[in-house]
């Protein structure tokens, strides 16, 4: 998530599950476990697509469409 977030940074998340493209979320992915990424697209059914902030990140295709059930929180504040 560089340059927005670096290893060791802290975030505070809200339990509210209102998503907008551009927000950063923490999810429990079935394959990648607890991960933090930015929402880039939300489709009508409520599923959303995530992406990293740099070209070293795993791709949106690798992460796949994410279910709202996986959502742990939406990032409100970051401590860098």
């Amino acid at each position: 998530m560089e340059p927005h977030l670096s290893d060791g940074d802290y975030v505070i998340t809200t339990g509210l599950k209102h998503l907008t493209p551009g927000c950063i979320v923490v999810i429990r992915h079935p394959e990648y476990q607890v991960m933090i990424k930015r929402v880039i697209e939300i489709r009508e059914q409520g599923e959303f697509l995530l992406a990293g902030e740099n070209n070293l990140s795993i791709t949106s295709e690798q992460i796949g469409w994410c279910s709202r059930e996986w959502l742990l929180g939406v990032v409100l504040i970051t401590f860098r």
Binding site: Y10, V26, Y32, S57
Partner: protein
């Protein structure tokens, strides 16, 4: 400031989320760079052996070409391996622990380039000294003590090894 405060209260209690920005294999070891530095010295010795001959046969010339090519390759390997540890493994806590890390890494880059340009053994020895220093620093950040010993193969130079307990 706030981050340090959170860090103080964290003590592993706050769950971590990964960003998967790279494959976090977390496997770092300066041994590869040390072996590459030793190889450079060995190659320099073998080049010197050819220098002792009155005339180089075609086979000798082919051998010289191989030795020089390998010397280049291993100097690049030293640079790459050290850069990866410095760039990927070293973060703020390690830089605080090893304030000379940037300067040491840079001096390894310069010395490895000298080893590419030259065939003087002393340049290879100087590179090994720096890489050993880097290895000592690396193991210090891991909380692992080190010892020096002569490697049991040519060029039989002093190498810093981690004193790993069973």
């Amino acid at each position: 400031m706030l981050k340090k405060l959170v860090q103080f209260f964290d003590q592993g209690r706050i769950p971590a989320a990964s960003a998967h920005c790279d494959i976090p294999c977390k496997i770092y070891d300066p041994a590869t760079a040390q072996i590459a530095a030793l190889t450079i010295i060995r190659l320099m010795d073998l080049i010197q052996e050819l220098d002792g001959k009155e005339q180089l046969t075609l086979a000798d010339q082919a051998q010289l070409a191989r030795l020089v090519a390998q010397k280049e390759e291993h100097a690049l390997k030293v640079k790459e391996e050290v850069r990866i540890i410095w760039g990927d493994y070293f973060k703020q806590p390690q830089f605080e622990q090893i304030p000379s890390a940037h300067e040491l890494t840079h001096s390894i880059m310069l010395q490895a380039s000298k080893c590419k340009q030259q065939i003087t053994r002393a340049e290879g020895e100087a590179l090994l000294t720096l890489v050993n220093e880097f290895a000592e620093a690396f193991w210090l950040t891991k909380g692992v003590s080190t010892f020096k010993a002569t490697c049991p193969y040519p060029p039989a130079e002093t190498v810093v090894y981690p004193a790993l307990a069973e």
